[in-house]
Symmetry: C2
Subunit: 148 residues, 2 copies
C-alpha cells in the first residue's frame, strides 16, 4: 500500500465513525450528531455559527444537522432576543437523556481503537493532531502560550 499520512488519517477517521455508528445504530444517532449533542451540553445556547466554528465545519453543514436533530426532538432552536438573524440552540430533555446512553458507546469505540496504544503514545497522538488541526484551520489562531 502507498502509505501516506493523509490516506491513513482519512481511513482511520472513517473506520472510527463506522465503529461508533454500528454501536449506536439502535439509538438512531450518528457520530457527528453525537458530537453536536456533546458540544451543546457544554455550550448550551450557542448560535449555529459558533457551533460550526467549534466543530470546524461550515455553517450550512451544522444548520442541516440541527434540522435533523430538531426533527428528532433532541435539540431546539430559540430565537436570539438580541439578534433576529440568529438562533440559539439548546438540548431538550430527550437530548440530554440520549447523551447519557451514548457515552458508553463512545468509550467502547475508543477502547477498541486504542488497544495496544500506550498512554504516552495517545498523548503524543493528540498533541500532533492538535498541531495539524491548527495548521489547517481557517480560524484566526490565538497567540501561542509560548510566544516568541
Amino acid at each position: 500500500m502507498d502509505e501516506n499520512i493523509g490516506t491513513l488519517l482519512a481511513q482511520v477517521s472513517r473506520l472510527l465513525r463506522r465503529s461508533f455508528d454500528e454501536r449506536a445504530r439502535g439509538i438512531g444517532v450518528t457520530r457527528p450528531q453525537w458530537q453536536v449533542l456533546s458540544l451543546l451540553k457544554i455550550h448550551a445556547g450557542s448560535n449555529q455559527g459558533a457551533l460550526a466554528e467549534m466543530l470546524e465545519v461550515e455553517p450550512i453543514t451544522l444548520g442541516r444537522m440541527i434540522d435533523r436533530l430538531q426533527e428528532a426532538e433532541l435539540v431546539e432552536r430559540r430565537a436570539d432576543p438580541a439578534d433576529r438573524r440568529a438562533w440559539r440552540i439548546f438540548l431538550t430533555d430527550k437530548g440530554e437523556g440520549l447523551l447519557d446512553k451514548l457515552r458508553p458507546f463512545g468509550h467502547e469505540t475508543l477502547d477498541v481503537a486504542l488497544e495496544g496504544v500506550s498512554k504516552a503514545e495517545r498523548d503524543q497522538l493528540m498533541a500532533t493532531l492538535a498541531r495539524v488541526r491548527s495548521n489547517l484551520s481557517r480560524k484566526v489562531q490565538p497567540v501561542a502560550v509560548v510566544n516568541g
Copy 2:
C-alpha cells in the same frame, strides 16, 4: 473544547480533505478520487472489491466512485475474462496525466498540515494510526511480523 481523540481525528481528516480540494478544485478531482487514481497506478487491473478493501470502504462506495471516474474518462472498466461478475479497473491515459498534475497538490497539502511536526513525530503518528486502523479494520489481519 472537550478534546477527544475521535473528534480531533475527524476534524483533522475533514480539514485535510478541504485543504486538498481547495487546491485541486480547478482540475475537478476530489481527494477520494485522487486516492483511487493513485491506487490504480500501483494496482492496475484490480477488481472493485479488491480496491474497496484496500481503501477500507464498502464496495458500493467504490463502485459509485468508479462510475464518476469512468464518466470523466479517467478510468475504464474492462470485463474480467475469468469471472463474468467482475470488472477490472484501469487508468486511462487521461487519468495517468491527471495523476502527474495532482501529485504536487498532495505534497503541498501535507507540507502545510505537518509544518512544525518533526520527522520523529511524523513516524510516530503513522505508526500509531496504523495500529488504530488495524484495530478497527474488518479485514482478517495477517499474522504480525513480530509474533508472540
